[in-house]
């Protein structure tokens, strides 16, 4: 069963715009929420992560917003650039275990 639901499946954003990818989780026993960026032919690479005791984390142009009561978290990419074109995965780690549950991914394309 899918415990982390990610949307949209694909996203096209103009250069300079804001890219927003959303994830929702069902299991409340998650304690770590990372986002991964994957380029074709490469493995996923950690982009940014958040723990549920904070509502927002920002690193450069990338921001995670976290809504614990709604069980939702999102990735915002400000001033999107063509180099940001990649597939993005959200994930969640269960409390007391070492396994990540991944969303289904969002293919982001930044157009000039």
């Amino acid at each position: 069963q899918q415990q982390v639901k990610q949307s949209p499946q694909s996203l096209i954003v103009q250069k300079g715009g804001i890219s927003i990818i959303n994830c929702a989780y069902e299991n409340t026993a998650f304690d770590y929420f990372p986002w991964y960026q994957q380029f074709p032919g490469k493995g996923p690479a950690l982009l940014i992560a958040i723990r549920p005791d904070v509502s927002e984390k920002k690193e450069g142009r990338f921001t995670i917003s976290f809504n614990k009561s709604a069980k939702q978290f999102s990735l915002h990419i400000m001033d999107s650039q063509p180099g940001d074109s990649a597939t993005y995965f959200c994930a969640a780690k269960g409390v007391g275990n070492e396994k990540l549950t991944f969303g289904t991914g969002t293919r982001l394309t930044i157009i000039p």
Binding site: G41, F89, K99
Partner: protein, 110 residues
């Protein structure tokens, strides 16, 4: 510093053949994982290990086996390859700063 190294990068297997996907890490991490990635399905956990000599099943372990005799190596074994095992396989480790993935093995079973 190589991080997580996977070999081979590509492989074509015939139905019923067996093979081992190799994974080696030089980060001295205890936790290691095998995931498979299918289009539109995200990554699914096959097996994981919390240290040498200790392994456990993930979400989709059927048709696979693993061993962990050293901290560095975590090979994944396919005994009787089936078309359903056509996928991209990723090995990963977990350290203090999160998970590090290898570059993957693309396996096709025909």
């Amino acid at each position: 510093n190589a991080g997580v190294t996977q070999t081979p990068k590509f492989r074509i297997l015939k139905i019923g053949q067996s093979m081992t996907l190799q994974c080696t890490q030089d980060m001295n991490h205890n936790y290691m994982y095998w995931y498979r990635q299918d289009p539109g399905m995200g990554l699914k956990l096959i097996y994981y290990s919390v240290g040498a000599g200790i392994t456990d099943k993930g979400e989709v372990p059927n048709g696979y086996n693993v061993s962990r005799s050293t901290t560095e190596d975590f090979p994944l074994r396919l005994e009787l390859a089936a078309p359903s095992q056509t996928s991209v396989y990723f090995c990963a480790t977990r350290g203090n700063y999160g998970y590090t993935f290898g570059s993957g093995t693309r396996l096709t079973v025909v």
